[in-house]
Subunit: 410 residues, 2 copies
């Protein structure tokens, strides 16, 4: 855990992040409001804002006067203040996107190929990264984020079975990318990256804590608490696809029986489709084989409901966000099938917010999310950590370094 003390040089960057994060979440907002919100004085916030403006992270605009007094200057993130490249590695290809500070996808590319071996992938990484960089050649590039299927380094289920990648065990993806590009690189699992994206730019903006469900080829999840994604001791928290949900159920490649992923996942649907029509594709399942989808939904709904009750009782989140690589139409079907929800601690007396939310971010979520892995280095409030349990980054504070830097009050 390595508890660290604080000192003045540590405190300033921390306050910078707090202020920047507040602007991100509450924009447009004025200096005074930030001050009262974060518990600093207006003067302090003012000097921090000056730094942030000079470095291009924040822009301000004089409001229209209403009431007496000097009209406030509303501050907001400068979307062009920084960019990150998000990479999404799947068993059937690699996606890349250039994402700005506001989470907008400036441009993206997808390269389909198989098998996705490390050597071929690294070559494609380089091409994709160069392409993305070319979209904003002179901008401040904050880093690269890579989302990969989990879990990491687990004997029985790493990179085995249809939902995982083969041949990647022990490959230092982050290290190699940093070496070839000179940019800081961060690697995360698909669901944790997507959850981070959701927390920064999606439904998670309004939720202090939420559980994120990611229906992909497999089925993943991530708990977001206090702004951080909980990764667990070894980054494998959220392997919800492998919770044993049906006693003595289907055999799973992980060695257990009745894993959630065997029922609720695109791979599970695909298996059903292929059994009837070997040429069927999950993407077109609703159009081509609606009856099979109906059957699948009906049979998996109780399984999904039990999974949801399990999450609610174990994590007590403010809400559960359902999202994923699946098509929006299919997600909506799954979402609707969760009703009626089971009883759980989520049934609070004064509850107003919904227990379940559907994220329509769709497939962009992962790419945005993986870029967010890098962007979080700038935007994270807690000493640079958006992932609880992650090693503390000892790099210099990225906010005040980088190409876009103009001279700060020398």
């Amino acid at each position: 855990m390595a508890l660290r003390g604080t000192n003045q040089e540590f405190g300033r960057p921390y306050n910078r992040r707090i202020v920047l994060e507040t602007i991100r979440l509450e924009a447009p907002i004025a200096r005074g409001d930030i001050a009262s919100r974060v518990g600093l004085t207006v003067q302090t916030v003012s000097t921090i804002i000056r730094e942030l403006e000079q470095n291009g992270f924040v822009t301000g605009s004089r409001d229209a006067p209403k009431g007496r007094g000097l009209p406030r200057t509303s501050l907001m993130l400068n979307p062009e203040g920084g960019f990150a490249i998000g990479l999404h590695v799947t068993p059937i290809g690699i996606g890349a996107a250039l994402v700005n500070l506001a989470g907008d996808i400036v441009g993206s590319r997808y390269h389909a190929f198989a098998p996705v071996t490390p050597e071929r992938s690294f070559a494609i990484f380089e091409t994709l990264i160069a392409e993305m960089r070319a979209l904003r050649p002179d901008a401040r590039m904050l880093g690269i984020g890579v989302a990969m299927p989990g879990p990491n380094d687990v004997e029985s289920m790493s990179f085995v079975g249809p939902t995982t990648l083969e041949g990647w065990k022990g490959v230092d993806v982050g290290g190699r990318l940093t070496a070839t590009t000179g940019l800081p690189a961060f690697v995360g699992t698909e669901p944790s990256a997507a959850a981070l994206g959701e927390r920064l730019y999606g439904k998670g903006r309004d939720l202090n804590s939420f559980y994120y469900l990611y229906v992909g080829v497999g089925f993943g999840g991530a708990m977001v608490h206090g702004g951080s994604v909980l990764l667990g001791a070894h980054g494998n928290a959220g392997e919800i696809g492998h919770i044993p949900i049906v006693p003595d159920g289907d055999l799973c490649p992980c060695g257990n029986r009745g894993c959630l992923e065997r029922y609720v996942s695109l791979e599970a649907l695909d298996r059903r489709l292929k059994a009837v029509d070997p040429g069927a594709e999950v993407e077109r399942a609703l159009e081509d084989h609606p009856a099979i989808v109906d059957e699948w939904i009906a049979e998996t709904a109780p399984v999904l409901r039990r999974a949801i009750a399990t999450i609610e009782n174990l994590f007590d989140p403010e809400g559960i966000v359902i999202s994923g690589f699946a098509s929006e139409a299919l997600l909506r079907r799954l979402f609707a099938a969760t009703e009626p929800l089971m009883h759980s601690v989520a049934e609070r007396s004064g509850r107003t917010s919904p227990r379940l939310l559907l994220s329509t971010e769709g497939k962009d979520a992962v790419m945005r999310g993986s870029a967010a892995l890098a962007i979080s280095g700038v935007l994270s409030p807690r000493f640079g950590l958006l992932f609880a349990g992650e090693e503390e980054r000892t790099d210099r504070d990225p906010i005040m370094t980088g190409p876009a830097k103009k001279e700060v009050a020398a």
Copy 2:
């Protein structure tokens, strides 16, 4: 979440806590070692230690010389530096204990009565608290911690059924205790309090993250991560007793079917015993009805195993600690019945530590733990928070106030 900025006056208490926590975990330890560990200079640590010594939290002793140079002064927590009263409310009585900074139970008392209504309980609280205070009349009393069965404020399952308390809905336990005693009072659920005790004084000292399972009348749990107990959005995280583990299983008072607690809990064993012998008692189950216990263990083992795999895949902890109100012998039986463990992300390639640990702290865990709720106000490293998600305590820093205070460099 309310992000807060930091400043020097905020930084000093934080550093004090970091130093104190380091001493607690690593004692005996010298100033220099603390400095390099927490990243502060020796001088800064020195001044902090001086304060802590003057306030009686820490004592130092000159080591025996070995090698040349001035022998180091080893520092350790002064167990008598502070005390807290732990209260444990159960459906059949109330326990109280006086606990010192080192987590030692200085004295304890149990008052059996039923039904445990709020009015009778508050009267008994007062007697017990007075008794505990009398054990160290002049010592610094840090506060009162109360452990109660969960969950809080949930429509369908609050205070209903054999494992819960009735008539306590909406009762402000902490507020009333503070009002009558003048001491800060903290209320937590049984498992979260016990988990905190385990983290401060038990197996949790060596684990950065662990899941804590508490076999009580019901079945509870708590995730400890980075030194904090994760409470969830409303303090109800860890209602593991109500995860639906058997599809279409036994009906539970919560309204669902097949809840874990219906199988693995003292209440479940009790039901089995009473069905055969209405006068049977769980405490004497192993002696009086070994066959029934065998049968219960055999039938619940697969259920427990699935629960363990679920926890491992959802939280990825370093380990799972099994503990509880149950007798040590019974816990050992349950513990042994978890083998063979199912596959999960816990099966890491280089794994050396056990996946499951048995805590022999026994029934003291809860009382120590509830006292720890109050003690954590002093020992918590993160700005006074040992519970992630808890409201920030705006009280003055308890370390430097209180009866034992001698004049600090006026």
